[in-house]
Symmetry: C3
Subunit: 308 residues, 3 copies
Amino acid sequence: MWKGKDVISIRDFSKKDIEYVLKTAENLEHELKEKGSLEYAKGKILATLFFEPSTRTRLSFESAMHRLGGSVIGFSEASSTSVKKGESLRDTIKTVEQYSDVIVIRHPKEGAARLAAEVADIPVINAGDGSNQHPTQTLLDLYTIKSAFGKIDGLKIGLLGDLKYGRTVHSLSEALTHYDVELYLISPELLRMPKHIVEELKERGIKVYETSDLESVIGELDVLYATRIQKERFPDEQEYLKVKGSYVIDCEVLKKAKETLKVMHPLPRVDEIHPSVDSSKHAIYFKQVFSGVPVRMALLGLTLGVIE
Amino acid sequence: MWKGKDVISIRDFSKKDIEYVLKTAENLEHELKEKGSLEYAKGKILATLFFEPSTRTRLSFESAMHRLGGSVIGFSEASSTSVKKGESLRDTIKTVEQYSDVIVIRHPKEGAARLAAEVADIPVINAGDGSNQHPTQTLLDLYTIKSAFGKIDGLKIGLLGDLKYGRTVHSLSEALTHYDVELYLISPELLRMPKHIVEELKERGIKVYETSDLESVIGELDVLYATRIQKERFPDEQEYLKVKGSYVIDCEVLKKAKETLKVMHPLPRVDEIHPSVDSSKHAIYFKQVFSGVPVRMALLGLTLGVIE
Amino acid sequence: MWKGKDVISIRDFSKKDIEYVLKTAENLEHELKEKGSLEYAKGKILATLFFEPSTRTRLSFESAMHRLGGSVIGFSEASSTSVKKGESLRDTIKTVEQYSDVIVIRHPKEGAARLAAEVADIPVINAGDGSNQHPTQTLLDLYTIKSAFGKIDGLKIGLLGDLKYGRTVHSLSEALTHYDVELYLISPELLRMPKHIVEELKERGIKVYETSDLESVIGELDVLYATRIQKERFPDEQEYLKVKGSYVIDCEVLKKAKETLKVMHPLPRVDEIHPSVDSSKHAIYFKQVFSGVPVRMALLGLTLGVIE
């Protein structure tokens, strides 16, 4: 059923699909811990095609493939590929699939991953295409929440920062509509979640609260998901500086939070979260980084058909 | 006998050598299909030294080494190597051979691969040096033809495009002199096969037909091997545009061909072959890409001495 | 005891530590030769973080990890990392350790490796940070000497070239104070070993001879360790040219040497050693390159805790 499937957009995943990936990831994490090494993907080859660099995502996928006992080939930026000779993406994909068993693609252009999936006979996993989709990030976010609380239903989840342009929070809120959660959308006025997304969330039965004031709601939250605010988004630097300061999560701000609040961040961070928070009981953003490995192991294993 | 041998030029290969590589590749392809993974090169290390980028060739070799159960180290362009510190190629090779069991080298300068082979105690495989030689391309071309027809003898093979500068077609025609074939050399006047090569082909008993008109001969052919025509070769762009158009292989042109004609291309293509041809029964250029893997598996395995 | 340990500076190593690494490396070299492939690090992942390129060192570590049966992920230059997005080294390390079992770091800034080691829960091995330390080079130098003579005690060792700025010779002479050796420091006046190092060597009981005349002492030596002299160090090019010439090791100079003299060099060389020396009985600099593999296998295996 999963064998040969592509992973392009979180929208293609039913709740049952999501739950199945999370369950498989959990099993793999435990099995790996127990046995030290696995051989599910022995003899299989992952091709990582990064047409734009993303070291973090690339290393996470490569680690996942090695943890499954498989091998990796690929490139980490487009500069040294046949693209320079005028080759179409279509031909590059048709070529690389002759060398490998599964493709992970990162591409600056929206729709590139979908095109690759249509062209290739082997499974294609989207590792981000333009401002479009990055479904494995969303799945690892869900996995991190579920690992921390044992469940997703019933949680109050705050999304903080740039909610207008942030692809991560768009996909995550989309996926959370499968669950019974309350969403707190915390952002400066200029960077509010697009109206059509808010409408859609509400239509699908999610309670949504919008605010620009973190301190007024932090006490309610089970999860606070912070994202980077990019200076370039602001026409006036003064406005940026004002906003920026009010969303720095530090130990002071966290005094108002529940004991059990968990802070997440897709990383890299610049100064949205003060380093002193790292050693607090609230911080799970490096655990979140780790979660990328079992989740990607699950996706690689399932689509390769070596795990059922 | 093969253990420790270098693979530098197709001219170094007797017909018996060629047949042995093709047979070994065929066996490996079948064995891999049957078993899923092989371990011939377990514990062995391939060093891929790409002094100029060639993603396609590099990934093909790396795939081949992984399919044999071995590991890969190396670099994909010269920019980050000791070459910058003034190190000689000789010293780079003497160094890298301490870390590996077989070297694949790609280098912009003619003769570099031969030099590397002389210096190294471990086998060296040429993955292209300047306009000189790229023997593994020729072997995979032969393998593709043999896979498609079950034989090479008796075939009528057309070589199309830039026959003057195209290293691929020079090496292939050279290798085909070991077989009983007829060659159709189809090119614009400006880009005809060099006289000395045509003479040599004839001396070695090959029937050679030269023409600039594809349509007049396409009905005769069993194989049509297309290559890229580079604009830079033409002093007058008008002439380029005229020529270029007349060598685009599309479904219209193929109507005049035999049912069994197979179209090949070393790739990347720009617009020599229309994408609509890809799904026709004639197209085997992606199968040709695939052929690079078993052929390179054979060469790696034989020169490493792990396959006999 | 070794499991989880970092390898940052040769100063952190007691004589017992050094001897243990050398002994482990020797055992691994023999075991590898005998068995063809090892599986100590099966399922383990090395992350090679090269914030500045060093192909030689990177390939040596990667070869060592593969020889142990492990896998490798990483990057070979900083250009394509999250560093560009303003991420701190601390966060990069905290991230990468989620994907791997041991980290090898090369960084242009002094102290970077120590910082990485403090941050990471997994072992960190320094592959050179600024002009500071490169401990695995020193260990492989010692291993090479011990392999050649069966011992280090009792040897007369000449260090030649740029003794002022050369990090390699500083670390090596430091490490040699654990042994009963005599050191000949041979350099132009401008590039003499810093006074405080010479004082320290003497205080720790080493007999030290300083000279600028290679020919007058070469007959005494068991080992001659040559290094590159960089033109940029000299205010006056004439002076550079004079000096440079007098330190070229060729077959003529070696006529005055003992039969058993061994010549070493950390490589890459430019013209400090004439290529004709390579095939002489004196040359062990490519054997020295090879020594990097068993020494790094030992360090990886010990810090991973897969070898005791």
